[in-house]
């Protein structure tokens, strides 16, 4: 990670690139109060971008991981995510059930393949 040289640089990055651009919205939320139409076209676009951004982050972590997940074959990573969504949908839309289903598939798969 070339951008991070030492702890101090990392702290500065967290503050300038993480904290400030994110906190702006919380402060704005307080200032704007109720005078905001949640269903305006502008807000609809913003929500679509926020969802796509999050989906893109997930896809990156699963499809082109940078760390230890690389050791697992692509099909197993995708199968685990699929099992998570299935578990969530089938067991009373429970987040916990989904997470457990995904982890079970991943751990069993990795163990069966003798990886990691």
């Amino acid at each position: 990670m070339s951008a991070v040289q030492g702890e101090l640089a990392a702290v500065l990055i967290v503050i300038l690139v993480g904290f400030l651009p994110n906190e702006v919205w919380r402060v704005l939320g307080v200032l704007l109060g109720r005078g905001l139409d949640e269903n305006s076209l502008w807000m609809q676009w913003v929500r679509a971008v926020a969802s796509a951004l999050l989906a893109a982050v997930v896809a990156r972590l699963v499809l082109t991981p940078s760390g230890a997940l690389v050791a697992l074959p692509l099909w197993l990573r995708v199968a685990a995510i699929g099992a998570g969504v299935a578990g969530f949908a089938m067991v009373r839309r429970s987040v916990l059930a989904g997470v457990l289903a995904a982890e079970a598939v991943l751990i069993l798969g990795a163990w069966w393949l003798g990886i990691a």
Binding site: G6, I13, V17, G18, L36, R47, S51, A55, V85, A102
Partner: protein
């Protein structure tokens, strides 16, 4: 919890409301949150980000998607200005959340500084928990109660971040990769849970579908193209489909 009468409530010291808020933060959603931050700690270790700054990001940023975009982006060499834009875009969803929850947190005599401090703790879990717990708290006690609730959730998450970091280093075998899967799987489920309209599903499909296609974009703008591009495509596609229907 039965709401005590307002006169009893006025006699209750602020610190006690704070403690009650802290107690309220020990719950099942908090446990799920803890686990996802253990996963984030694992990610920190995986990409070699310093643990102190990582735990600080849990306190200051307090929004896992933004934190993962930041750390994942740094790991893939995204330039800092592009990362700041991506983090900023991912934080937009906090605005309507703050607007929705502030009337509950505000108490009787609202002060701007108190409100801004309380608003810092607004994130998905606090948002859900505030709607569950705050209506049972008399209005004088609400700002300190909300603060206690927020501090409790943030504290547990900071502990989770640190534990995940050191656990991944010491955990051999499939358990270490299981930890790393926690972040993507909990985000996937959150996305699916919050998707209600066509535009939401399209945004998920375009964002995830574009991501592998734009890997290695010039200037490290992958997230920008898949996020802003995918979201904009989804927005217009959904409007077209509505018009046809």
């Amino acid at each position: 919890m039965n709401p005590p009468s307002e006169s009893d409530a006025a006699a209750t010291p602020t610190g006690l409301w704070l403690l009650r808020g802290l107690r309220g933060s020990l719950s099942v959603p908090a446990a799920v949150l803890f686990a996802t931050f253990v996963g984030f700690g694992g990610l920190l270790h995986d990409v070699g980000f310093p643990v102190g700054a990582g735990v600080l990001s849990t306190f200051l940023v307090w929004a896992l998607p933004a934190q993962v975009i930041l750390i994942g982006g740094l790991a893939s060499g995204t330039p800092l200005p592009a990362l700041a834009v991506a983090v900023c875009l991912s934080g937009v969803r906090l605005l309507p959340m703050v607007v929705a929850v502030m009337p509950l947190m505000r108490g009787r005599r609202p002060r701007l500084l108190t409100e801004i401090v309380c608003a810092h703790f607004v994130a998905v879990t606090l948002w859900v928990e505030a709607f569950r717990l705050l209506p049972g708290v008399p209005s004088v006690g609400r700002p300190p109660y909300a603060l206690g609730l927020g501090l409790g959730l943030v504290g547990q998450s900071m502990a989770g971040t640190a534990i995940g970091y050191y656990l991944t280093g010491g955990l051999p075998g499939p358990l270490a990769v299981a930890l790393l899967l926690l972040t993507p799987i909990s985000f996937t489920i959150l996305l699916v849970r919050n998707a209600r309209q066509t535009v939401d599903w399209l945004a998920i499909a375009f964002g995830a579908g574009l991501a592998p296609l734009v890997v290695g974009s010039a200037g490290g703008l992958d997230l920008f193209w898949s996020g802003v591009g995918g979201g904009t495509l989804a927005f217009f596609a959904a409007r077209l489909m509505e018009r046809r229907a």
